[in-house]
């Protein structure tokens, strides 16, 4: 049988990600879509470690590590430097977690997006500071357990709508992706490669230790996040929104929440509130906004 996504592996085995890590599957797909004519810029995040301690690397493409708040700016600089040296073709991908994107890195991200810099910015979102051991970020959904929200019984505020913020920058391409939909993710990276300007790809990356579930369920939870409408898959090209995985009969959000012990303190009322919010966002999305 012919594989449904490119066979070439640019991420090696032997990396030190946790068992069932959603971000490593995503990195595999990203580089299958982008190809090896790519430089990766990484701020502080799980991938600081997963990329390999010196003198080893888990990627077959060049990597530049950057300070936490500086992924987007460093990537813009790499692109400018490569162009100055006559290389107009190499893609530069910033690869940051949700902390480095939603929180500390948002200033540089917004600046690069607003200037329509010719880079691909990827946020692999696992909904908390996982590399430092599961602290709340502004990507953490309401009610999710983290180590820094014990008094509140979970994250006290809903997840920041970062995609809406990025769309307000009028960038040429924005897409959401998650590893259960491998072909969709690879296609989005391959498409992003062909577009010039600022491209943003938001990856929903399940995290077994942070979300507290059996690592074998990574793909199943990724799939359920889409099937329940918690993380809809869509892309926005020059302002036009297209939903990529239609889910006419969405599953109840409880199917996604219950396998995860981070949500075990949710009351039936909390779950109903999440369902209402998910319905509202789905409604807005299906109307193209």
């Amino acid at each position: 049988m012919k594989p449904s996504i490119p066979a070439q592996e640019t991420m090696t085995s032997g990396h030190v990600a946790c068992q069932g890590c959603g971000s490593t599957i995503s990195m595999r797909y990203a580089l299958k879509g982008l190809g090896t004519n790519t430089v990766v810029v990484m701020p502080a995040c799980c991938w600081t470690i997963l990329a390999g301690a010196a003198p080893q690397s888990s990627l077959g493409v060049p990597i530049l590590h950057s300070p936490f708040a500086a992924a987007a700016a460093t990537a813009c600089g790499v692109k400018a430097g490569l162009e100055a040296k006559g290389d107009k073709e190499t893609q530069v991908m910033a690869w940051a977690g949700d902390g480095g994107t939603f929180d500390i890195g948002i200033q540089a991200l917004s600046g690069a997006a607003e200037r329509d810099e010719d880079i691909i910015y990827v946020c692999y979102d696992n909904e908390a500071y996982m590399n430092t051991g599961i602290q709340r970020s502004s990507a953490t959904p309401a009610g999710a357990w983290t180590t820094t929200t014990p008094a509140q019984g979970g994250s006290p505020r809903p997840k920041k709508d970062l995609d809406a913020i990025l769309r307000a920058h009028a960038i040429p391409y924005l897409a959401t992706a998650t590893p259960a939909y491998a072909e969709d993710m690879v296609r989005k990276f391959a498409k992003a490669r062909r577009i010039r300007g600022f491209r943003f790809i938001h990856i929903y990356a399940p995290c077994p230790p942070g979300w507290k579930y059996d690592p074998g369920l990574t793909i199943e939870l990724s799939r359920l996040s889409v099937q329940t409408g918690i993380f809809p898959l869509y892309e926005v090209e020059d302002g036009r929104l297209k939903i990529n995985v239609p889910t006419p009969k969405r599953k109840p959000v409880g199917d996604f929440l219950r396998p995860q012990a981070r949500f075990k303190r949710l009351s039936p009322e909390d779950e109903a509130a999440i369902q209402r919010e998910t319905d509202r966002r789905w409604q807005a999305l299906s109307q193209g906004s």
């Binding site: 090896t36 004519n37 790519t38 430089v39 810029v41 600081t48 470690i49 990329a51 390999g52 301690a53 010196a54 003198p55 080893q56 690397s57 990627l59 077959g60 493409v61 060049p62 990597i63 530049l64 590590h65 950057s66 300070p67 708040a69 500086a70 987007a72 700016a73 460093t74 990537a75 813009c76 600089g77 790499v78 692109k79 400018a80 430097g81 490569l82 162009e83 100055a84 040296k85 190499t90 200033q107 540089a108 917004s110 600046g111 607003e114 200037r115």
Partner: protein, 388 residues
């Protein structure tokens, strides 16, 4: 070609002459005209590199981290709060051994707000592993930017070219602008040791354990010390091509001096007037104007000083709790000296106060006549009131 240029414009003209590939900058008073002129030169085609307008100084230096790792020659300019905001990146860039050159226009740090000359901003970056050169007139600004690229690229260590806000940044002076072909002779294209290259996929800045980390820091410390030699050699080569000489410091009427003023930046220029005035009154005054703060010329200083010639160190900066930073550095450098001269510290002109000729004469007399309390002044600085 002779031109009348403000200090900030000298910085921009030098960056263009150095054929910088990537400029990334953010506006801050009193540095702004340096990047404005580069933007104008970009528009008129006189600057052929890429000019990047970022949303913060943190991002400005982060872009240069990226661009320099890709093999580009890079430039930025900042002041005060902007430099403080960049601080994290300064360590990063020196640790990565990237020869970024930055113009740093001295301005006081808040709170409270203040816009005027004060060296505490640049000197508080002492431990970031950057070279720092202090200029005292506009010609020296232009020349030092060219020298900085030469030295930084040979040492693989970033360099700051520092001068006084408004006093130099906004003052117009006649400046000799070198010809491009002479600059090209002095400054060959940047050849990085390795760079980001998809044909050779290396990872830069990967996690490193203590065994390698301390070895790399040992190396940076040694290379920064050894860069003294590169500074001197670049100065000699510069003189051969352009006829102007720059070393680690400038000596002015030092030979028979009773006491020496030690100053940096624009006050180092005013101090020559003070020395001349004192000499005219029959006092044997002299001046040591420091240019290189990092590398610090400690060994040369030990050879230079004489036991019976006191030093009056003028600091337009303060490290609260320990006083003037040049004062501390000089005392530390002279500690191994078998018979060191008395060293007196004077803090003056913080936040843009005038350091006038009269004030400098007064400072010299305090040291020469030991009117500054002997002993005590060698430990604690004397604070001088703003003369206005």
């Amino acid at each position: 070609m002779r031109k009348v240029l403000m200090g900030n414009h000298c910085a921009a003209v030098a960056a263009a002459l150095a054929k910088v590939d990537v400029v990334s900058a953010y506006p801050i008073t009193p540095q702004t005209q340096s990047v404005e002129l580069l933007a104008e030169m970009e528009a008129s085609g006189r600057f052929k590199g890429r000019f990047m307008r970022v949303e913060s100084e943190h991002s400005a230096m982060a872009e240069l981290l990226g661009a320099a790792t890709a093999g580009a020659r890079t430039f930025t300019s900042t002041s005060s709060q902007g430099l403080a905001y960049m601080h994290e990146l300064l360590h990063w860039v020196s640790g990565a051994r990237l020869p970024v050159v930055m113009v740093e226009v001295n301005r006081a740090l808040a709170a409270p707000w203040n816009l005027w000359a004060d060296q505490t901003d640049s000197l508080s970056q002492r431990d970031t592993g950057w070279m720092q050169f202090y200029c005292s007139d506009n010609q020296e600004i232009l020349d030092t930017v060219l020298l900085a690229y030469r030295i930084a690229e040979q040492a693989a260590i970033p360099a700051m070219v520092v001068f006084d806000g408004f006093v130099l940044s906004h003052t117009y002076e006649a400046v000799d602008v070198p010809a491009q072909e002479d600059v090209d002779r002095f400054l060959p294209p940047y050849q990085p040791r390795q760079q980001l290259d998809v044909k050779r996929p290396l990872a830069f800045g990967s996690l490193t354990g203590p065994r390698d980390y301390i070895r790399l820091r040992r190396r940076l410390d040694g290379d920064l010390r050894r860069s003294i030699e590169l500074v001197e050699r670049a100065g000699r080569e510069f003189e051969r091509i352009f006829g102007r000489r720059y070393g680690l410091w400038e000596e002015y009427r030092c030979e028979d001096a009773e006491a020496l003023l030690v100053a940096s930046g624009a006050p180092g220029s005013t101090a020559k007037e003070a020395v001349d005035a004192l000499r005219a009154r029959g006092r044997r005054a002299g001046l040591l104007r420091l240019r290189a703060f990092r590398p610090f010329p400690a060994e040369a200083l030990r050879r230079f000083v004489k036991a019976q010639t006191p030093l009056a160190v003028v600091d337009r900066n303060c490290s609260p709790g320990t006083g003037g930073i040049f004062f501390q550095e000089i005392k530390a450098a002279l500690y191994p000296h078998p018979a060191p001269p008395p060293v007196y510290g004077f803090i003056a002109g913080l936040g843009g106060g005038d350091i006038t000729q009269e004030l400098l004469e007064e400072i010299w007399l305090e040291a020469a006549d030991k009117r500054a309390e002997p002993g005590a002044a060698r430990v604690e600085p004397v604070w001088m009131e703003d003369p206005r």
